[in-house]
């Protein structure tokens, strides 16, 4: 068939990255959002999200991208994706009302011959009730990773396609579009595809939970998790790309949503989802690692300690602060002098902190510094310059952004997730001395 026109409805993170990737693959793309202001800003090159290469790719393929706030413009599309970001609440519940409204809008304006694809993540059981005899409906699993949005949209590992009947061939327009990406296409039942996305995330959470649990044990027994990880990656059953970096719980909201979904299904179905509840508990517990470290290493001596906070985003290369451990820390610290810097999140948008213009400004005069987001910019900090700027010596660096040896040379007390605590190191030294 001739080259299909692709539509995307919902110009938030998922829809925007996906639309630009489709244009980069050579397709004409209709980009719809009901918010005219948003559409105007994007059309003018002002993007609501931070993603590496997004602005450059959008500029490069601008002639193939048509931004509109008129749903009727979707009528020329052969395939229309409904792709708004689905907000989650504090308990990991999804608010699907925006998706449902957009789905209805798109259904009312698209061509009857076009293929309708739900791209936003939905819980198992969402898609099938929306099948109509006169509608070609599919659910496609999105695998967006914040901070790697364009890379993931351009080079997917595979397409997982939920279908009413996986034995039937995909419509030509849809198959032609997917084929351009050159990756495996896996059709399956709607329910399987909906659960496949959650399954991927639960496998990741399993690895993260193992890393977080063992990192804490490392801290206590004098082992260093960063020494163990390379050994695990060489095990074929674990693998090179396994999620083995310890973190401050599971941030970002999406993984927590999937855990909450499985706990809910476990309750409804009478299945044992206890292991997932334990992962959620461990996540909440590890989130407070910095707070506990500050309490024992800083506040015990200096209750009024001044702190420098480097990083507010929930992870690097994004301006998202959803479930950010940094913001949770700021909220938990109560009224005290906090100086904060983030390359993408304006610090003046966070109450309770004094915005700093540079990382070193945030550290000036601080009794302790916490590197709460592993931005590359922070890895370039010179520990000696940091030590000179600070009033104290405690550097809490959960992700190990800075080199431990360089921090030791700068006489900083460097606390990392998975690294032995001072007490554990002292115990191993005592044993060395005794042998």
């Amino acid at each position: 068939m001739s080259q299909p026109v692709i539509g995307y409805a919902g110009m938030t993170h998922l829809g925007l990255c996906s639309a630009i990737a489709a244009a980069a693959k050579g397709f004409d793309v209709e980009c719809f959002d009901a918010d005219g202001e948003r559409v105007g800003a994007i059309a003018a090159g002002r993007y609501p999200v931070v993603e590496p290469d997004l602005a450059e790719l959008a500029a490069q393929h601008r002639d193939k991208l048509h931004f509109t706030a008129k749903p009727g413009d979707l009528a020329r599309c052969d395939v229309v994706y409904v792709a708004p970001d689905v907000p989650t609440d504090d308990c990991g519940g999804s608010d699907l009302s925006g998706l449902e409204a957009l789905f209805d809008t798109v259904s009312g304006h698209m061509s009857p011959d076009a293929v309708l694809v739900i791209l936003s993540q939905v819980p198992p059981g969402f898609t099938r009730p929306r099948v109509r005899p006169d509608r070609m409906l599919y659910y496609q699993v999105e695998t967006l990773i914040f901070g790697r949005g364009m890379e993931r949209a351009l080079e997917p590992e595979r397409f997982i396609i939920g279908c009413a009947d996986p034995a039937s061939a995909l419509p030509d327009a849809y198959a032609t579009f997917l084929a351009r990406f050159g990756c495996p296409v896996l059709p399956m039942r709607f329910e399987s595809a909906e659960l496949a996305k959650i399954s991927i995330n639960l496998c990741l959470v399993g690895s993260i939970s193992v890393a977080n649990t063992l990192a804490e044990i490392c801290e206590g027994v004098g082992a260093d998790w960063s020494e163990i990880v390379p050994a695990l990656r060489l095990d074929r059953r674990i693998g090179e790309y396994a999620y083995l970096s310890p973190g401050l719980g599971i941030a970002g909201g999406n993984l927590e949503r999937d855990l909450a979904t499985i706990v809910r299904f476990g309750e409804e179905l009478g299945a044992d989802a206890g292991v997932v509840s334990a992962q959620l508990r461990n996540s909440r517990y590890r989130r407070d690692w910095v707070l506990r470290t500050l309490a024992s290493e800083v506040f015990a001596q200096r209750p009024d300690a001044v702190l420098g906070i480097l990083g507010l985003a929930y992870k690097q290369d994004t301006a998202s602060v959803k479930n950010s451990p940094s913001l949770a820390l700021v909220a938990a610290l109560g009224p005290r002098e906090l100086h904060a810097y983030d390359p993408a999140v304006p610090a003046d948008s966070v109450s309770g902190v004094v915005p700093a213009k540079t990382p070193l400004d945030a550290c000036r005069g601080a009794d302790a510094v916490c590197i709460m987001t592993p931005w590359r910019e922070f890895a370039e900090l010179d520990p000696k310059a940091l030590a000179r700027a600070m009033a104290g010596r405690v550097l809490i660096d959960p992700y190990g952004v800075l080199d431990p040896a360089a921090c030791a040379a700068a006489e900083l007390e460097h606390f990392r997730l998975g690294a032995p605590t001072t007490a554990a190191l002292a115990a191993t030294r005592r044993e060395d001395a005794g042998t």
Binding site: D288, R292, A295, P303, L333, G334
Partner: protein, 292 residues
């Protein structure tokens, strides 16, 4: 986790301490008095919570709007009879508080409400007591929560130590008495079990903060640092001059530990600091010197 009705601390107009004659109640009353907060100290002499008509007697001692700290208990609770009596005591308290509505209630419970293997314990750990003592506190917590319409704070302390401790339970207080008398401290096994020992004045301060913030919810009272019983014994011996001996015994029971995740306390009261075990024991030694 506690939620504060008063974001900024504000002293209650008057506090009634039910069980002010005990170790915790006495310390709480002293702490409140130190902040010039009017305190009504009720002991068994004023109100016997098991006596006939006790609810009316207690109600007469209350004024509407009082903050009430409920500490009184027959502890440790080791028999079914003691369990029933303790629950009857809380029935009396609930009946009195139904007659005269307080502004805030603080119930002093125990970490015995948690299951023995809940490590690290935090406020979200399931309450699954294995002892009558824990079952008693849990029953009283639930009974109070069911009967009150005003904010209720439930504080669950770990093991307590301090000069006025009337009990001679296994732990720092007994070790100090033995060490001060030059007697040998005998440990269960080698004293490997780790527990979180809290200094009594920290409990009193946390009750004071909870009252000032008119907090509701659950908070554990634990330092976040667990010591082995042997460590605690060695600290006690050192604090009393270092002469006493510490002796292990053949182990009879499996080793169990208890650790706390104290993040909720750090968030509820960011400026509060617990007294380290060494400091608390040293203060007890000093205060006993003052008494003798």
């Amino acid at each position: 986790m506690l939620e504060h009705e008063n974001a900024e601390p504000r002293s209650p107009e008057r506090v009634v301490v039910i069980g002010a004659g005990g170790f915790v109640g006495g310390a709480v009353a002293l702490r409140l008095a130190a902040s010039d907060i009017p305190v009504v100290k009720l002991t068994r002499a004023e109100v016997d919570l098991l006596a006939e008509g006790a609810a009316d007697t207690l109600a007469e001692a209350l004024k509407p709007g009082d903050a009430v700290v409920v500490v009184s208990a027959l502890a440790p609770c080791k028999t079914a009879t003691q369990l029933v009596e303790n629950v009857r005591m809380i029935e009396t308290v609930a009946a009195a508080l139904a007659q005269v509505e307080p502004s805030h209630v603080v119930y002093i419970s125990s970490d015995a409400v948690y299951s023995d293997d809940a490590n690290p314990v935090n406020e979200e750990s399931p309450a699954a007591p294995s002892s009558l003592h824990g079952a008693m506190h849990l029953a009283r917590e639930v009974a109070l929560a069911a009967s009150l319409k005003v904010p209720l704070a439930i504080l669950r302390p770990s093991l307590l130590h301090g000069a006025a401790d009337p009990h001679n339970g296994y732990g720092p207080n007994r070790y100090l008495r033995l060490a001060a008398g030059g007697e040998t401290i005998t440990l269960f096994g080698e004293g490997e079990e780790k527990r979180d020992h809290v200094y009594i004045e920290d409990v009193a301060e946390l009750v004071h903060l909870t009252l000032a913030h008119r907090s509701r919810g659950v908070l554990n009272i634990a330092t976040g640092i667990s010591h082995s019983f042997r460590d605690a014994a060695e600290i006690a011996v050192a604090a009393t001059g270092g002469g006493a001996k510490i002796q292990g015994t053949p182990r009879q029971n499996p080793i169990t530990h208890r650790h706390f995740d104290v993040s909720a306390c750090l968030k509820a009261f960011p400026r509060f600091r617990y007294t380290p075990l060494e400091t608390g024991i040293a203060r007890t030694v000093e205060s006993r010197k003052g008494e003798s």
